[in-house]
Assembly symmetry: C2
Homo-oligomer: 418 residues x 2
């Protein structure tokens, strides 16, 4: 069978499975999830054995130690995967929830009920834990999932998929509810992305290049974010100790993630009091500062920021800093250079706090808190399947509910239109 | 300027306008809408004069009387347009609504606030009233709109657009909030559909061919439905008088629309009592019945239904009828041949009513009511910009809220991640 037919068969089976899945009770889904968590822990030796093949190949190919670290399955990472699945089991099931219901003048009772999207394709890179994680979220929300991980992790992903499918079978659930694409051929992704009649949503997870390639090729809706150029604006009358604490946290607590701070905007009136002190703390933490002219006048160690810097997602201990005339200039900068991801204002000015929340249309907007809270778990969604900076369907961190849609349900007693 | 640059300029201006529009107060938007309604009525002579050019050209081209009728603006249709705009003005503004808000253990107050999508492109066919209608809904929901109607209505659409823009100017609103594409070149649509950096959503309104062409060409998300193959299932213990009344209404009240009944499924136990009587009423109303073998045994006048009939959206006084063994067979038929639009069960069996509502995943599912209620106005959304059978973002009739998305807003007091 050619790769095109093979992918069509995978997608067709997923579609069939999704029809059955949408009717499975929460109890059965939760039982299967808990057994999956158990299964992974019980079969840790098998998983680590398969994972070794990937790691050996990766070392052979000269992959960076950081990449090999992400790829490696240890007992502790397997336990973490299992814990993650158990957490998903404990979450409320979004399927079947009636989100609102109202009575029409003619007596019709009209409501909206959550249902699964159907079939979800996940295209991701090296971390094998995404396999278990995404499979659990899709199963809980009644969706069939097609998982296409990176070729570096192929043995690990296939092994995880096998264990999950074994549990599906044992619970009389359709095996095709969770499918790991078992070929490393590049064309497999392209072929999957053409199957709009079978697959309802594609979620790419990985670097900007991967995501752009998926968007370019896909005929299926894609929910994604390319990058997170997150801003903090320190207003004139901010609590400057709080501001420094938040900036340090947002930049340094985990600089390699999308909700880390990349550009700091400082009100001109606060800059002389704020910048030297925050710079001292940043420099102590190993952060390289790149600033506008006014910034550099206040921070001698700062390098010159070029126009290009304002667009950059460093994902590293680098911070660009700009002095602005006020909230309007700050919001203009964000609108021009931002990525619609996450922005925070640090202020004690009530009107400015409200303006920033209302007028900045990034997917997450905060007052007096770190950008690092832009995360499904931190916001209380209970899980995160990804972050969207596309406004359609979901905007910001996506939890289980974002893997569903609503249909209209209507109770009548003989109504006709006149 | 070439057509590509021209469309890019239109889209760029729309994007600029949308940034301003998202902050305009409800009061100003409502005032502008009311003035637009007035303007259309006051300038009826001008509109009818421009419309005459379209009508003359259409007659010259030999368009059908039905199409010319849809195209023609009379005083009454202009008044209807104005009434429609006033109704939109009276609707609640979805923008800025906080749909939910919760407290996190660390004290963060997290909410979701509705914001406009941004720029919406509407691609439609001959009815000029869509121009006013769609412009009003987009303005009310804070979105900029690019309107591309059929070439048959170009003078009428441009004239309507001019009047609406005049009101925008008079209210210091950005003129590019409502733009009518003033070229009839076919490439204009293709070029618009490539501009994913500027346009957030495309809504095509018209026949299946138009919609399929838009989906094929677009790099921008499209919300659409291709067709409405709507079903009614008459269960064994349905109230048969109610069932007949509902079937007649769903098939004959307005057969040319997408929520009209196309296929009737009847429980085998009810068929001998139900089919001859409902057929008599249908035939009297001029409906042609096409049936399966069992149906034809009970309705001598029925023609033979072929496999192809079960997929057909007749949009006409034709009905396909099939006898089924029960609710499972009915739901299987709907899953196989249906279009995810609208299905209704007529039953007095409580368990079957609940099963049908829960298990049929079409965008609108009813019990004991006509399929004709699948409509934004009838369901109480206050308006309708279209109907979606794509599960992403919106599913079923779409009102003002479906022209918005939600962002996360977060009130903190110094929280950082640990």
């Amino acid at each position: 069978m050619g790769i095109q037919d093979e992918m069509r068969q995978v997608a067709d089976q997923a579609r069939e499975a999704s029809r059955k899945l949408s009717r499975i009770s929460t109890e059965i889904k939760n039982r299967a999830l808990k057994e999956m968590a158990e299964q992974l822990v019980n079969q840790a030796d098998y998983l680590m054995g398969e994972n070794e093949k990937d790691v050996a190949y990766a070392k052979n190919q000269g992959l960076s130690p950081a990449m090999i670290d992400r790829l490696t399955l240890k007992e502790s990472t397997i336990r973490d995967m299992a814990d993650g699945i158990n957490e998903v089991a404990a979450l409320p099931d979004p399927v079947g929830k009636v989100t609102s219901m109202w009575r029409r003048p003619n007596g019709l009772l009209v409501g909206r009920m959550r249902i699964p999207l159907g079939v979800i394709g996940i295209i991701y890179e090296s971390r094998p834990n995404v396999t278990a994680d995404a499979a659990a979220l899709c199963l809980k929300s009644g969706n069939a999932v097609i998982l296409r991980g990176g070729s570096e992790a192929i043995y690990s992903n296939i092994a995880i998929g096998r264990l999950l499918q074994k549990v599906l079978r044992a619970n009389s659930l359709p095996e095709a509810a969770i499918q790991v694409v078992d070929t490393t051929e590049r064309e497999a992704v392209y072929e999957l992305l053409q199957l709009e009649e079978y697959i309802d949503l594609i979620i790419p997870r990985g670097g900007e290049d991967l995501i752009r390639a998926v968007v370019r090729q896909s005929r299926i809706p894609v929910i994604k974010h390319y990058k997170g150029v997150c801003h903090i604006f320190v207003d004139a009358d901010a609590d400057l100790d709080m501001a420094a604490k938040i900036c340090l946290n947002a930049k340094t607590q985990r600089p390699g993630v999308c909700n880390a701070l990349e550009t700091l905007l400082v009100h001109r009136d606060a800059a002389p009091r704020f910048l030297p002190e925050v710079a001292r703390q940043l420099l102590e933490s190993g952060v390289v500062v790149r600033g506008c002219e006014e910034t550099r006048a206040l921070i001698p160690e700062a390098e010159e920021a070029t126009e290009d810097d304002w667009y950059r997602e460093y994902l590293d201990l680098i911070l660009s800093v700009r002095v602005v005339g006020g909230i309007d200039e700050a919001m203009d900068h964000i609108a021009r250079y931002g990525s619609l991801h996450t922005e925070s204002i640090i202020t004690n000015d009530y009107a400015n706090a409200q303006r920033f929340l209302n007028e900045v249309n990034s997917s997450t907007v905060l007052v007096n808190a770190s950008t690092r809270f832009s995360d499904g778990f931190q916001l209380g969604l209970g899980a995160e399947i990804g972050i969207s900076t596309t406004k359609l369907h979901a905007y910001g961190p996506m939890g289980l509910e974002e893997l569903t849609t609503t249909k209209f349900i209507i109770y009548g007693n003989g109504q006709v239109r006149t």
